[in-house]
């Protein structure tokens, strides 16, 4: 037996060719797979650029960038000024951030600095569930619960308005802000906190003067990411905000965002090759530029200003 195993292994080793083949091939296969992600980004950029260029052969760039009227469906004289869509998007984003930032940070501070382990075990899953609710369900919630609720003390609030979906988008973002900020706060070593406690500081003072400054880059990064998400949000707005492009900050009126416009056209019968068809790519390109910029910014802040312990 002593010779059998060793001899068999030696014999196997001599006919090793298929094994070597795999050793060389598999890394290349995996590299190929990893490169697909680059292909995807290239595909997105190519797609957006190609169709946007088609769009701009029909509509002037100046009109798009500076125009304040968005009436693509006016058969004879459509206008394609992007500003109403931008204003709708930012109205939603602003309302959402006004909701999400205070509550998200409050929850992060509580979970990170005050909550006992048992409480954390209960509260964190709640936030995870909140993060898992599909946006259509949130949209339905905004339309059929939040809007009527708001109408009870804002009598003139129309069914389709920006306030209700704005609030719900904010709610949707809270878990993300809380968990990312909490992660950043957790990275502050306990020993630093202990030093402050030993000097007689209260929890609030430690949280505000030590932890938050000590995790600032992570917190800011989480806020920027949250904002990016609010800008890219689609279904909540499509369900509850209506589809009326509106210029200016108009929370109590129906609005249209970049995302809900794209949805509106897709649900309709836009002919392939028409200006309206290409307009969704131009709007999509604008959207992509905004969110990409923000994501890069968030990454940059997180990386460059990261507090090192």
């Amino acid at each position: 037996m002593k010779n059998t195993i060793r001899d068999r292994i030696k014999a196997n080793k001599s006919k090793q060719s298929s094994q070597n083949y795999m050793e060389i091939i598999m890394p290349k296969v995996f590299l190929l797979m990893a490169s697909i992600s680059i292909l995807v980004t290239a595909g997105i950029i190519y797609t957006l650029m190609r169709e946007t260029v088609m769009f701009f052969s029909e509509v002037s760039f100046t009109e798009f960038i500076t125009g304040t009227e968005w009436y693509p469906f006016f058969g004879n004289d459509p206008s394609y000024g992007i500003w109403p869509l931008l204003s709708g998007t930012f109205t939603i984003a602003l309302i959402a951030m006004l909701v999400a930032i205070p509550i998200g940070l409050a929850a992060a501070i509580y979970l990170s600095e005050y909550a006992s382990d048992e409480k954390r075990k209960v509260l964190k899953p709640v936030l995870e569930v909140l993060a898992g609710v599909p946006t259509v369900v949130y949209g339905l919630f905004a339309l059929t619960f939040v809007t009527p609720l708001l109408q009870t003390f804002m009598n003139d609030l129309p069914i389709f308005n920006a306030l209700s979906p704005g609030i719900v988008v904010g709610i949707m973002i809270i878990p993300q802000i809380t968990s990312l900020s909490q992660e950043a706060m957790n990275a502050v070593p306990q020993s630093i906190r202990d030093g402050a406690y030993a000097l007689g500081a209260t929890r609030l003072e430690v949280a505000l003067k030590i932890v938050i400054p000590g995790s600032f880059s992570g917190i800011v990064s989480s806020l920027v990411l949250g904002l990016s998400r609010a800008i890219g949000e689609t279904m909540i707005v499509s369900t509850a905000a209506g589809s009326t492009p509106n210029l200016g900050f108009t929370p109590t009126e129906s609005i249209q965002t970049m995302t809900s416009y794209i949805v509106q056209v897709s649900m309709g019968d836009a002919t392939f090759g028409s200006t309206i068809y290409y307009s969704i790519y131009a709007v999509g390109m604008t959207l992509f530029v905004f969110t990409l910029t923000m994501n890069i910014l968030a990454n940059h802040v997180s990386r460059r200003y990261r507090e090192v312990y």
Binding site: S37, I103, A106, G139, P175, L204, M235
Partner: protein, 292 residues
């Protein structure tokens, strides 16, 4: 009695303590807000939709009359889409993470791939929909089909699966590799016989969570051309389709109040599906977490 420079007085201390208590209340309320909203949402959706949730709801197709509306086409559509998304995203995602964690040298290409993935994770789903529309539906002539939708969805959730798989692979301690190398195993053998088996629970958990995001995904499939009124179940991958969240959206957009209740009924089913999936993921995570 020496005169101390720093002599905190009792009044100031109790003021600070009170401030702390107040702040704690405020922060706790903020945390509770999430719970309250979640409860309100679940209760509201449940009470709104339960009336329409019966057996016919699960077996009927969509209809002009709210009482007859059903999610059969939507559920089947979701199943068909998932049958493409699951294998494609898993293979690509795990393959990518194996490359990044096991083979990739620390060079610019690797950093570029990782940066790229991070950015893709933040791209809105409508943009993925536009990509799918141009490349899959038109360029590759798949039409407004399940194939186009499933592939688009795979790309959408790819970054999340990669992150989860990378985590799972990274959590394997170096000693496991050393033990295998010392016995004369080659790198690919180690990946096949040590790394993947050990990382599988983590990968599965991440995959299920990513797929549950796909189940609730709406916007990108709308772009692909998922229909909102379908009266048949798919028979092939090039068929048209609808999925549950899109069906819900279509009902929610109808003016009649009854249809909103039908939408709520659909939401209940969707939430149940998600709860089952997430519980499965948590079960797997807990079962295999006590290690090393």
């Amino acid at each position: 009695m020496k005169n101390k420079i720093v002599s905190p007085n009792e009044k100031q201390i109790s003021r600070r303590i009170t401030k702390n208590k107040l702040a704690r209340g405020v922060f706790f309320t903020g945390t509770l807000f999430g719970m309250v909203v979640l409860a309100a949402l679940l209760i509201r959706i449940f009470t709104q939709g339960i009336g329409y949730l019966d057996f016919e709801f699960l077996t009927n197709f969509a209809s002009r009359r709210p009482e007859d509306a059903g999610i059969k086409a939507a559920i089947m559509g979701t199943v068909w889409i998932m049958s493409i998304t699951i294998p494609v995203s898993l293979i690509l995602g795990v393959g990518t993470s194996i490359y990044l964690e096991e083979y990739a040298p620390k060079n610019k290409l690797t950093r570029f791939i990782e940066l790229n993935l991070a950015n893709l994770a933040g791209v809105p789903s409508v943009v993925f929909g536009l990509l799918g529309l141009t490349v899959f539906v038109r360029l590759l002539e798949m039409g407004r089909s399940i194939l186009a939708g499933g592939l688009t969805m795979s790309l959408l959730i790819l970054p999340v699966i990669v992150v989860a798989s990378k985590e799972a692979i990274r959590s394997i301690p170096q000693e496991q590799y050393e033990a295998a190398y010392a016995m004369g195993a080659t790198k690919w053998q180690i990946i096949r016989t040590v790394v993947l088996p050990a990382a599988t629970p983590g990968i599965l958990t991440g995959a299920i969570l990513s797929l549950s995001r796909g189940v609730g995904e709406t916007a990108s499939l709308l772009m692909i051309g998922a229909m909102t009124f379908i009266a048949y179940t798919p028979t092939g991958f090039l068929d048209g389709f609808t999925v549950l969240p899109i069906q819900i959206f279509s009902w929610a957009s109808r003016p009649q109040a009854e249809f909103q209740a039908v939408a709520a009924a659909g939401s209940i089913v969707l939430l149940i599906i998600l709860i089952v999936m997430n519980s499965l993921a948590i079960l797997i995570r807990n079962k295999y977490s006590k290690r090393y």
